[in-house]
């Protein structure tokens, strides 16, 4: 797929970017462009499919092929793209409302089928484009236009959702953690199968600071846990705290004894801890929760076709299709009929 190296700025289209000034989406756009440059993707091989919402304007700002579709359906449309042409690098841009509310079903099934899609979920815990209603990831008590007395719905956990649905690559990053975000996108781009990346994204207008417990200076220092393969699960000042496995509680537990820290690996051997890590917020884990190898959906689809063609001696002609089953011939004046063969 590599052709002449494309510089990251060349992935930008000629359209003026129209997100609110200070929106986290700008940072994600830049990280994606940089990741594409690192991956050496040629523009014509990339299709970006989005649904509806602020984040879903994304394709217009990229100089690749792009399809801005309808609310929640991007994973389904992207699945069709991949079925028709597995050679394309297909990226799905969605948000917490688009991907987990109206489109939750499609995202679930894209994950379980392991369609080779890269799904970037911009999570800002709010509906921005419709001007500020609580979303399926809003924390309980969120005051918004549609929840003036605080939201009462329990939020959905995107990482837990993707893990449970069977995504083969699951990661989390933050809009302003530029370097980390780019590296996650590159990892996702290299992964074969469905890659799901939740990106904490700040909505400066309707939900400013919703992730400040990890994005503030202190938060980042004390609360962020980096998931890195073969590294211990430590966090806080000078890695003074660690996560360990408590065999009595059958659970992860924070300890001051760094020697007891679990050494992380995303290859599936600690999958049970991935579910646990997804659920705790102090520390909050960033990085790759799961990266496993399993056949992609479109590979299996084609395998069946090729296997059948091989078994039956190649692709049959239309005449063979029409002539399957019992046939008979009407002759001349039609009175005489004969079995064919």
């Amino acid at each position: 797929m590599k052709s002449a190296q494309v510089k990251w700025k060349e992935y930008a289209s000629d359209q003026e970017v129209r997100w609110c000034p200070g929106c986290g989406d700008y940072a994600i756009l830049k990280a994606v462009q940089q990741a594409f440059a690192d991956l050496g993707l040629s523009k014509e091989k990339v299709v970006i499919v989005s649904g509806i919402g602020c984040s879903s304007r994304f394709p217009y700002y990229m100089a690749t092929y792009g399809f801005h579709t309808i609310h929640g359906r991007a994973p389904a449309i992207a699945t069709g793209v991949k079925l028709a042409n597995p050679e394309l690098s297909v990226w799905v841009i969605t948000g917490d409302g688009d991907g987990l509310s109206i489109g939750g079903n499609h995202l679930l099934h894209a994950c379980r089928r392991n369609v080779d899609l890269k799904v970037i979920l911009f999570n800002n815990r709010i509906y921005g484009l419709t001007k500020g209603q609580y979303s399926p990831t809003s924390v309980v008590g969120t005051k918004s236009k549609s929840s003036p007395f605080g939201s009462i719905d329990s939020p959905i956990n995107p990482i837990l959702f993707a893990l449970s649905a069977g995504a083969s690559f699951v990661a989390r990053s933050v809009d302003i953690f530029q370097k980390h975000l780019k590296s996650m996108l590159v990892e996702a781009g290299r992964h074969k199968g469905l890659a799901f990346i939740e990106v904490y994204q700040n909505c400066i207008i309707f939900n400013d600071g919703t992730f400040s417990d990890v994005t503030s200076k202190e938060g980042k220092r004390k609360r962020v846990l980096w998931l890195e393969d073969d590294y211990p699960l430590t966090f806080d000042e000078d890695d003074s705290k660690a996560l360990t496995f408590d065999s009595d509680l059958m659970d992860l537990k924070v300890t001051d004894d760094k020697d007891k820290a679990l050494v992380w690996n995303s290859d599936g051997r600690y999958d049970i801890f991935a579910y646990k890590l997804a659920q705790i917020d102090n520390p909050t884990a960033f990085g790759i929760f799961r990266k496993i190898c399993r056949p992609t959906y479109e590979e299996l689809v084609r395998e069946q076709i090729f296997a059948l063609q091989k078994r039956k001696g190649g692709k049959p002609t239309l005449s063979e299709l029409f002539n399957s089953g019992e046939r008979w011939r009407v002759l001349g004046d039609g009175v005489i009929k004969k079995l064919v063969r």
Binding site: I305, K315, G334, V335
Partner: protein, 612 residues
């Protein structure tokens, strides 16, 4: 003595486990080889495994055979073969006066009679007076015939459908060989089963031959008015599926069929899923919306995206179809219509989605709407749908229905080399590229396949600026685009055939039908013509756009009778678009029109004219 008959309608009925559909299919093949024209219709129970012996569990198969070209499986059976009391109870009302009932007495036990809701045994209590009842203990006679074979009783009993079939083969002078050959081939690995079924078939035949209870034997000669050539049996669903495969092959575009299971459209998915060796991709989506969206995605990436559904599914797909209208992408949606609203009667037909197909989307969102009129015609319609969708970059809705889906008839097998070419232009770049520049003739925007270097562009559901395809909220641009999208659909008229008149070119009365009712309308029209009346007939396969000559055609008739299985949806369109004196004939019973109903309605109108 054989009595010659021009045609006969037979219905086989029994419990779901009695092998009724198989018996019907074999009778159909035997009739094909006897040279008859035929038309068949299966009636499966809605319940998957209804309790044995109940009315809910009755499965039936109707076949009409004739020595001439026919178009429907017949209004009323004249012969009813019933394997148990429930089958009799459920089907008796349909049987023609004076009809023949062949009943398997073995199953007419007090328990089974009660299950079917009979207070006493109708075979004995005189309630079947007026019919000719032939009571045969089919089960016991089958067991007796197979007594020397090393099979358990249950396996022997499973052969009783072939014993009953043997009786019918004798009665209607059918050849045994095609069925015997089929049995031997089918059970090649289980010769004892093959032997038992062949023996049951022959025993039934011989029993009818020597027994004196069968006082009549009929002969229906081969039809003399069928076009010479090679034939096979095809039903509406399979015909559509083959039309899609053929057209995509000819167009050089891969077929990607995305569907969510729904009665009565699932059979198309099943058929295509078994055709993977033709390179067909089938995708069973998580829901109706995902199915149409995946089809749109596949079309966008260069395949022909198609999905099949029924009315409730079409409702769910509408927003996405609107996206395909806006993004100007090829798409085919097959709606195998069923009785609605809501879940309605899933296994019963209706033509009530016409207005939904035309107008069921938000905004001004015109699509092409076409409808096959017979199982054979379904192939041509699917073929044409592919051509229209790809050449005009437009969604096409095909309106089939639950009757057409399962109705089967002989199909003159097309020759691969005589299928019309489908020329699809793919834009690969030459100078500055604009995604919404249009072909002068078709108004289609360029078909560009992602992966093509230098043509990267963005499309979507937001209004497009003419030519550039950039997002635009400009009021005049919007109006222009609305009109362009409508005009593009109108221009499909350039490649559709004009509507033809059967009968006089002008006159007092024209019968105008659409979709699957053509067979019944032909039948009814022929009946009144035989009585010396003059009536013309025309049938619509193209509902949006209408054929170019429709307006002129309608202007030549004083009255237009429109029979339809809805409350008058085509009538509304005709009245709204043309200056025609429309009489609606509406039937909304989950059943197609009978010939006799069309005949009576025509007589009523024609006699009014005479009186007036």
């Amino acid at each position: 003595m054989k009595e010659a008959k021009r045609e006969v309608v037979i219905r086989f009925a029994g419990d779901s486990g009695d092998g009724i559909q198989l018996a019907g299919t074999k009778f159909t093949e035997a009739s094909a080889f006897a040279g008859n024209d035929f038309s068949t219709f299966p009636d499966y129970p809605a319940e998957i495994r209804a309790p044995a012996g109940t009315i809910a569990g009755v499965s039936a198969f109707q076949i009409r055979i004739a020595d001439h070209d026919i178009h429907t499986p017949g209004d009323q059976p004249e012969v009813l073969v019933v394997m148990n009391p429930a089958a009799l109870k459920k089907n008796l009302l349909d049987l023609a006066k004076g009809g023949i009932i062949i009943a398997n007495t073995y199953e007419f036990t007090p328990r089974n009679l009660k299950k079917a809701g009979f207070d006493s045994n109708p075979l004995e209590d005189g309630s079947l007076e007026g019919y000719r009842v032939i009571a045969v203990d089919i089960t016991s006679m089958t067991r007796e015939a197979l007594k020397d074979l090393p099979l358990d009783t249950r396996s022997k009993d499973r052969c009783k459908n072939f014993f009953a079939l043997g009786i019918c083969y004798w009665m209607f002078t059918r050849p045994l060989e095609p069925t015997i050959n089929w049995i031997r081939k089918k059970f090649a690995n289980r010769p004892e089963i093959a032997e038992a079924n062949v023996k049951a078939l022959k025993s039934g035949y011989n029993f009818a031959d020597i027994s004196e209870i069968f006082d009549a034997r009929y002969e229906i000669r081969g039809a003399t008015d069928l076009e010479p050539g090679e034939y096979r049996v095809v039903n509406g669903n399979h015909s559509l599926a083959m039309g899609l495969i053929a057209a995509c092959e000819k167009a050089g575009v891969s077929l990607c069929y995305c569907s969510y299971p729904i009665t009565p459209a699932s059979d198309i998915l099943h058929f295509l899923a078994s055709m993977k060796n033709y390179g067909v991709i089938t995708f069973q989506a998580e829901d109706e919306i995902a199915a149409v969206c995946a089809a749109i995605g596949a079309s966008y990436a260069g395949s022909m995206g198609v999905c099949g559904t029924s009315g409730p599914g079409l409702a769910l797909k509408m927003e996405a179809i609107g996206l395909a209208v806006m993004a100007e992408l090829p798409l085919i949606v097959i709606d195998v219509q069923r009785a609605g609203p809501s879940t309605g009667m899933p296994t019963k037909m209706e033509q009530s989605d016409l207005l939904q197909a035309l107008f069921g989307r938000n905004g001004e969102a015109p699509v092409v709407v076409i409808a096959p009129s017979s199982p054979s015609n379904a192939f041509d319609i699917a073929y044409k749908a592919v051509e229209i969708a790809l050449r005009y970059m437009v969604p096409v809705i095909i309106l089939s229905d639950g009757y057409l889906a399962n109705n089967a008839e002989p199909w003159l097998i097309p020759r691969e080399d005589t299928l019309p070419d489908i020329k699809v232009e793919t834009f690969e770049g030459n100078g500055k590229f604009y995604p919404y520049i249009r072909d002068e003739k078709t108004l289609a925007r360029p078909r560009v396949i992602p992966g093509t270097p230098g043509l990267e562009h963005r499309i979507g559901g937001l209004e497009k600026e003419d030519i550039t395809g950039n997002i635009s909220y400009d009021p005049l641009n919007h109006e222009k685009m609305v009109r362009l999208r409508a005009e593009k659909v109108e221009r499909v008229q350039d490649i559709i055939p004009p509507i033809e008149v059967d009968g006089e070119d002008e006159g007092d009365l024209l019968v105008l039908g659409w979709g699957s009712s053509e067979g019944a309308i032909i039948g009814g029209v022929n009946m009144v013509r035989r009585e010396g009346y003059t009536v013309s007939r025309a049938h619509l396969n193209y509902l949006n756009p209408f054929p170019p000559n429709l307006k002129e055609l309608l202007s030549r008739f004083k009255r237009v009778l429109i029979p339809e299985n809805n409350r008058g949806q085509l009538s509304l369109l005709i009245k709204g678009n043309f200056n025609a004196n429309v009489v609606t004939y509406s039937k909304v019973q989950g059943k197609p029109f009978f010939r006799m109903e069309i005949y009576r309605k025509l007589k009523e109108l024609l006699n009014e004219e005479c009186a007036g």
